[in-house]
Symmetry: D2
Subunit: 392 residues, 4 copies
Amino acid sequence: MVRIAILGQGLVATHLAVGLERIKSGELEPIGVPLDRFEYEIPVGRLEIVGSFDVDPRKVGKTLYQVAQDMLGGQLPVPRSLEAVRVERGIHAGSVKGLIPGARGLDEELGMEEAVEKVADRLQHLKPDVVINVITTEKAEPFETVGSVRERVSKGLVSASQAYALAVLRYAEREARRVALVNAIPAPLANDPAIVSMYESAESLVLGDDGATGATPLTADLLEHLAERNRRVLSIAQFNIGGNLDFLALTLPEKNLMKEKTKSSVVRDILGYDVPHFIKPTGYLEPLGDKKFVAMHIAWKTFNGLEDELVVNMRINDSPALAGLLVDLARISYSLLERGYKGTVYEVNAFFMKNPGPKEASNMARITAFHNLVKLLQGLGALNTGINGGQP
Amino acid sequence: MVRIAILGQGLVATHLAVGLERIKSGELEPIGVPLDRFEYEIPVGRLEIVGSFDVDPRKVGKTLYQVAQDMLGGQLPVPRSLEAVRVERGIHAGSVKGLIPGARGLDEELGMEEAVEKVADRLQHLKPDVVINVITTEKAEPFETVGSVRERVSKGLVSASQAYALAVLRYAEREARRVALVNAIPAPLANDPAIVSMYESAESLVLGDDGATGATPLTADLLEHLAERNRRVLSIAQFNIGGNLDFLALTLPEKNLMKEKTKSSVVRDILGYDVPHFIKPTGYLEPLGDKKFVAMHIAWKTFNGLEDELVVNMRINDSPALAGLLVDLARISYSLLERGYKGTVYEVNAFFMKNPGPKEASNMARITAFHNLVKLLQGLGALNTGINGGQP
Amino acid sequence: MVRIAILGQGLVATHLAVGLERIKSGELEPIGVPLDRFEYEIPVGRLEIVGSFDVDPRKVGKTLYQVAQDMLGGQLPVPRSLEAVRVERGIHAGSVKGLIPGARGLDEELGMEEAVEKVADRLQHLKPDVVINVITTEKAEPFETVGSVRERVSKGLVSASQAYALAVLRYAEREARRVALVNAIPAPLANDPAIVSMYESAESLVLGDDGATGATPLTADLLEHLAERNRRVLSIAQFNIGGNLDFLALTLPEKNLMKEKTKSSVVRDILGYDVPHFIKPTGYLEPLGDKKFVAMHIAWKTFNGLEDELVVNMRINDSPALAGLLVDLARISYSLLERGYKGTVYEVNAFFMKNPGPKEASNMARITAFHNLVKLLQGLGALNTGINGGQP
Amino acid sequence: MVRIAILGQGLVATHLAVGLERIKSGELEPIGVPLDRFEYEIPVGRLEIVGSFDVDPRKVGKTLYQVAQDMLGGQLPVPRSLEAVRVERGIHAGSVKGLIPGARGLDEELGMEEAVEKVADRLQHLKPDVVINVITTEKAEPFETVGSVRERVSKGLVSASQAYALAVLRYAEREARRVALVNAIPAPLANDPAIVSMYESAESLVLGDDGATGATPLTADLLEHLAERNRRVLSIAQFNIGGNLDFLALTLPEKNLMKEKTKSSVVRDILGYDVPHFIKPTGYLEPLGDKKFVAMHIAWKTFNGLEDELVVNMRINDSPALAGLLVDLARISYSLLERGYKGTVYEVNAFFMKNPGPKEASNMARITAFHNLVKLLQGLGALNTGINGGQP
């Protein structure tokens, strides 16, 4: 059994919880779980969500079943088995200020230092192997140096993700247990040398940052496609608009900035040269809900000086796509912990994350990253690509 | 110097001729030539077109300069250096019947057997290292067995591509010279076991079939992108419309069929399962000229049972894209011949061709194919990816 | 009460039946019914389906409730009130040969002349005011002259639509009752001078042909948009692909031709000059179901000799869109019959039909046609545009 | 002869100047000039640009020929006849601050009151019938009341457009000449009751505001298309990105706001209800140049409760489209002045402008507006739609 705790019981976490139960009951195939094309040493059925933290007053105290009914009720069947887990109060640090009325965290009751300890207490009780961070996009400055951590905590200068990262670490240390933190949001954790080094010392793992779904990984592969034909990209425009909380958050300028940074780095890393580009989450449009609209325009020079152009439009469900990746991130984390991996692991981040840690690491075409990931896991004996093994 | 002879002086060959000269004179960078991102043992400047065959009465007897002026004059500068080569009469075999009024080949004057010998004579005179087949899409049935060749030739049951393939072979045999035939059209040459085996006996190479530009390689990479996330593709629709001779040819039903076959095979090869799809060159629309319009719709199931969709629209110059690939195919052929390769080479075909030979070979994601190709060429010492070598 | 009989209980008719009941019960607003923005003298609630004819063995003998459950069951709620009507055997005339296994019509049992009389008998029993033809697209040659009708019927040289048109006429004559036939498929009825003249003699109405939903009316308005700016359209490409029976029918070449004709006429009629275009239903792709995918590319010259281009992609539910129009066509027919209109009425056809009858009539921008339609109906006192009356 | 003076010698004005000369010389047809489909009392050849004002140091003092060579030289042929007009220094009022280095206006030399008089002097010399305002998008607050004008001028609280509007007025008054000011930018002139009333008193015309090219009029017609089928629009997203000065200006937040206002008003005016929408100029991407990329997504409910969606992508040359409209606006202005029209004229603005004045006026479908415009001009005897007269 791989025990999972959730930070932020939003749409992603709720799709993860519902989807996992529907797969376990045989209602659904594990579509959208990348490695399930192959044979993985840990079947999806062995994953279990054991706890969840949030600061939304409409969620804290409710069971995952109730939360899922509220969020997905009309749209999807919600399994009764989700009644087993109840959402607990977590850390706020202002992360959803202005977005969720009445949001309140342990930090607002106890101060940040106490709140971190309290979450660590609860984790000791829940005993997760993997903790997944899917709180709403928030502003966060990396610690950079381990020395700065204590002071910033005492002054309350930490984001919710950072506070959670410290709580997971406290739990790992107290229990002398290897734990993995999977950071699926833009806050720099796997890109923060201080965090990575503390996790390494605790024989634990931090994977991240910013789960790569939607337009960014597709852009990466499209650019690689062009690069391999040596076409000269002239400009890239990419618009994203959606109606979920993450898009609402991006209407607050400082959060938008967090996204933009990770989205842009992909261009230079893959093409090897700079291209004028506009790649940004663009707007909030409530009726689109979780199914965002993406429009992309790429122009390039081809042989003999002529110009081509490509337009991509997508309607994609934002949250389930990420939830599917989290299933694999959870079981890969477990496999890596068992084999003594610690700190962060670029080969995993490079495929799953928009801003793969560690800090200096670059982006690459996802197809290449997938190839490398499969090779790593095959080497460890965790993955068996079977008869089709030659393909990836 | 790599000496190149052209079969079919249409738009692709003319872009190749013009583009090569513009690159050599420093007017253009070798954009659209895939391996020019790296250091290749044969610089583009060492390629030279030494001869050209066609059956169009508006071209036979003219210099490449005159032909290029007629076809690209208003649009692009045409270098004077193209006056050095003159288009000769080639083999028709009915390949442009109904498309080019007054087309006439050597076969119509001399019979097919004589025509093949005559082309071989001319090749002995021109001494090409590489012969590139870019005649208009034609219907062709593979020989399958070497035994059937002589009989079919004597009965005139061969397509123009097949007759040219035999002429190149005769030239190779007579001169005891290793020669490469690059087949960029759908006629099955590298997919014909008889042809491949004859080339192998002649220590020569046949690469093909059907140069992979435009929508097909992009579809391959998009499907691989989805497969790696284990999304379940539900349907694929792909339309192509353009105004060049190749699209006009496709209005003749038996030619359309040739294209459809190679375009469809990509789906099962990459996804590993069958998907209802409609992937066809769809129509001819003269004002679009060589810049075709492609529309594609792909729907898939994602995690937790929801559906996503993707629409791709492209305006791409058909002929220059292929011309850029031919530059690399010419110099790779040369490198391979020098190192004793013969028959056909899947690693090359898999990246450059829609229907990569040999016959039983499957399609794969182009990004993976590119990776394999680079590895092969690095291994041979033909390619140096330099400082960025780690990337592909 | 406006009594409606249906010819062809396919998806369109089934959406019409289900939608009408859902509107009547207050479950849905009459969205998609054009004139319901205004006040019409006959409210939607006064329409009633009283009979239905088909030749599909899976439908004949079943109630509309059962048929609707089979066709839309999982997707939409099906009202019990549809149990009141049962599908009867109609006329086949080979219209779904090769599409619906086991299809059999009265004509196959009784011969065509008898079959027409038998349908007329049933109509006398059902007493519809309006008969709506929504059978699958079929090949049909217009009678052109009244004199030719009897002979063609006796020889069996009539299509199902024509036979139905004659049956409705027989019913109107026998009962001396004004009846309206609304022809929503491409078979030329309102464009057949013989049919129109016979209906005129019977003081009855025939409206048609080919209900204008989807890409065609949108194309009309887009072209008018360009014409009004005096842009010079250079080319038009339009692809349609879907998975319903109508698209399957179009894979049979002679049916495809029926569609292509009506779709193309729009270009010259609106722009006033010919433009190279490719406007065709393009393919059948079963998983798309009734929600077709449309892709369109239009290029034009703008001021100072430059070129612009427009790409439109749509995912639209084919059948409900037509069903919504049929609601208005039924009540407009009724209003017109009451006021003595007979033969056909261009002002109605021009907005609702792809190929508006009578035969010589041309296509126009739909926005203009709508304007004219509203003016006609206001003039008759049938329509009250209320406070917003100035707008259309 | 219709004498035209230009305010702002940017891309629009330069395309206007070049295009007019190319049409006059017979090199081009008057494509993109809406009324040139018909016979207008003033042929395009009778329009003449007699003067031009700007504040860009790279333009002031140069001939239109030199400016056009600099801006369009490589792309289009520039007629020598443009040497006849020289760009003069105009009013700045900070309108291109931060956009054009070194920009300086008469107001910076003489103060605003003097600058207005100086421009009026120059207009007296140039004697234009029509003055066209195509300066870069700037922030401007309407005067609202005539009483406030003098005070705001003396305090320098006027925008460049407002100052120019006053200069034109001074010129009209001094010469007792009827003059038309055509305002093609978002600054509220025809929407400013004070300006309209002053022009009315001077027997002059002000038409505006914000020339309707590109996505906005198309959106208007698309929404009307949906409204006429009574589809319920659920959401509208529209992105615009381009590389000309106007897009660069929009990166300055207060200018973006000016555009957004006019773009949004279209939704409620046409649909008759509010819809969540995101309609904004979105970004600046230099390599796109004057050919902007537009992406639009519209979702709606159709009959029987189902959902459809439409995606539109465009690549359109921004400036020539507007230049083509200005040709007609100039000659319509002249015809209206001759017939005693004064103040502003909604029927003209409704078709040509994004934010049609006067202030309280609403937006309407452009096809309807065109219909009304043609009727007005036919009524005046200015326009003859000829044999095709029935069509619009």
